[in-house]
């Protein structure tokens, strides 16, 4: 009986916790990813703003390219919001966890 249980024991070599340890985390964290996404979107919004201002001031900017730039900024923002909502809801799910 005892022999049977001890044979079920997981050998230390089989437990690989290295991947679970935060110091072995590779790549950028959520914060950096969100920051770079927001920077990208700010860049797109800046482009959209410049183009819309160009159209309104009448210095030869195309109306359609301004509209496309606005649309791009809007879609990127929507994507960022979707990802953020998903990650925040995952975080809240974990924080509600009962032990």
């Amino acid at each position: 009986m005892n022999g049977a249980i001890s044979s079920l024991r997981i050998l230390p070599a089989e437990i690989d916790t290295a991947a679970l340890r935060p110091e072995n985390e590779s790549g950028a964290g959520f914060r950096e990813v969100l920051h770079s996404a927001i920077d990208d979107i700010q860049q797109l919004e800046g482009q959209a703003e410049t183009k819309v201002a160009g159209v309104l001031q009448g210095n030869g900017a195309d109306v359609h390219s301004a509209m496309i730039a606005v649309e791009k900024a809007d879609l990127s923002f929507q994507l960022m919001m979707q990802v953020r909502n998903k990650i925040v809801s995952a975080y809240q799910e974990i924080s509600r966890m009962q032990f």
Partner: protein, 144 residues
Amino acid sequence: MNLFGMLEVSGSALAAERWRAEVVSANMANAETTRTPQGGAYRRQLVVFRARPLPRFPVLLASLQQKPQEGVRVDRVVTDHTPLPRRYEPGHPDADAAGYVTYPNVNPVMEMTDLLSAVRAYQLNAAAVQAAKSMIQQSLQILS
């Protein structure tokens, strides 16, 4: 594969078609012009389109793309060298010794057809922009 690339391609087509409509309008406006800076009657202008590979855009929705998308641009605006029609109008200040006035080689019917074609092509590409936008929104709704 790049959804924003679709917007870029359609955007370049919109710009090209707008330019074409502008050239057609210039032709229509000068259908009766007998004096130009180069001298003589106005000559009909034509646009020549050329396929253009678009640069890659490092933006959020862009992913790796294998080949460049083909946008379009106006390669150049050329002059139509068909012979200019001559009309007998002896009273006209630009009439020659025989009383004939050289008029532009602009056919209003042809210009109107070209204009309609440019407007329809613009609508076509605007519809493609709408389709690209709704595709991106559909893919965003996967997450919600």
